[in-house]
């Protein structure tokens, strides 16, 4: 603990982290409350998307990465599917 800490301790840091806590809670709880009343469609959506892609190319289900970012006004869902290269496709 250096003497500089007294300046750090006086920054209104505690207040700002509490604001962050409230915002994070509002977002996560909004989503959780919705999923309590109706079933979360994300798992099914993801399965069906992968099934559609699999009709066209052979894919390794282990190489599907799902990235979600839930937001207050908007969420983004990114599904990354690793497609086999042309060589592999020819070989099959």
């Amino acid at each position: 603990m250096g003497w500089l800490d007294i300046f750090r301790a006086r920054k209104p840091e505690g207040g700002s982290t509490a604001t962050a806590a409230k915002e994070r809670l509002q977002i996560v709880l909004a989503h959780e409350r919705v999923s309590r009343t109706r079933e979360d469609f994300l798992p099914k959506l993801q399965q069906e998307l992968v099934a559609v892609v699999a009709r066209y190319v052979s894919i390794d289900p282990g190489k599907v990465a799902v990235n979600l970012d839930r937001g207050g006004d908007m969420s983004t869902l990114a599904i990354e599917i690793e497609l086999p290269g042309p060589k592999v496709a020819v070989a099959r």
Binding site: M1, W3, D5, I6, R8, A9, R10, E13, G14, T17, A18, A20, A21, R24, I27, V28, E32, S35, R36, D40, L42, P43, Q46, Q47, P61, G62, K63, V64, A65, V66, N67, L68, D69, R70, G71, L77
Partner: protein
């Protein structure tokens, strides 16, 4: 082969999730491929403490029930790239966790990771039993308080009788004591159990002592594991504990009340 480490306590609210997040992050910072699993089905919180709550799509129950691949349910940490989080389910009940299901997950993770940390729920019911069943090592989180010490003793008994290692009569689960929320000033005033008393009663090797610190609340507010707050005493105590866990010798710090200097007394600075 990965090492499976359970963070457990028996008693609730003693700092298991805080410690799981700190340890997982600390091990990953040291280059160990680490995954931390939340076993608290129905009351998931590790995602919040790790700051990944907005990114949860699938959880451990989805994987066990075949609704998602393990790799899809794992959330890769954006701060430390050798770290991943497997969230607990928030909507299912505890019966959705099965021993076979968890065994499959641990086996698959073992191929890719060095450490698998299991953040146990409180109690000695199904969730807690499953969290410790596959453990090679156990971090027993204890507060300097009578009921916590008693429950830690109880959980040590469970580790010695109900873990896979116990059932298969293999080498015992390696036990580590992690004392958290230690307040040296209150210990000095005789209001709180001394470290030496806890060590004497539980008689297992001491991994670390994490002092009561305001930085823990700040860390949970922002979803940043407290070990990333390298200036805080709690962050430093966790970093020391991780180093000891990996075999380094580090002296124990923060065991005595902080001597308040003139500035501190004038301006009223608190423990970081």
């Amino acid at each position: 082969m990965a090492k499976v480490v359970v963070v457990t306590s028996g008693k609730g609210g003693v700092g298991k999730t805080t410690s799981s997040a700190a340890f997982a992050t600390g091990l990953a910072q040291r280059g160990k491929k680490t995954v931390v699993i939340d076993f608290d089905v129905g009351l998931r919180n590790l995602d919040l403490i790790m700051g990944v709550e907005r990114r949860v799509v699938f959880d451990i129950v989805n994987v066990i029930q075949g609704e998602a691949k393990l790799n899809q349910a794992l959330i890769r940490d954006k701060r430390v790239d050798t770290l991943a989080i497997l969230p607990a389910s928030q909507t299912r009940d505890k019966d959705a966790l099965t021993k076979d299901g968890v065994a499959g997950i641990i086996e698959e993770l073992s191929k890719d990771y060095d450490y698998i940390l299991c953040d146990s729920p409180a109690g000695i019911e199904k969730g807690a039993l499953l969290a410790l069943y596959f453990a090679d090592e156990a971090i027993v989180v204890t507060n300097p308080e009578v009921s916590s010490v008693r429950d830690s003793d109880r959980i040590l008994g469970v580790l010695q009788s109900k873990s896979k290692r116990a059932e298969e009569k293999k080498d015992a689960v390696k036990e580590h004591l992690l004392v958290t929320r230690y307040d040296p000033a209150r210990v000095e005033r005789g209001e709180m159990l001394k470290l030496e008393d806890i060590r004497e009663i539980l008689a297992i090797p001491l991994l670390g002592v994490v002092p009561e610190s305001e930085s823990v609340l700040r860390a949970s507010n922002t979803g940043t594991p407290v070990i990333l707050d390298a200036e805080s005493v709690a962050g430093q105590a966790y970093a020391d504990s991780v180093a000891r866990f990996l075999g380094e010798e580090r002296p124990h710090r923060f065991l005595d009340p902080e001597k308040k200097g003139l500035f501190k007394r004038l301006f009223g600075g608190r423990a970081a």
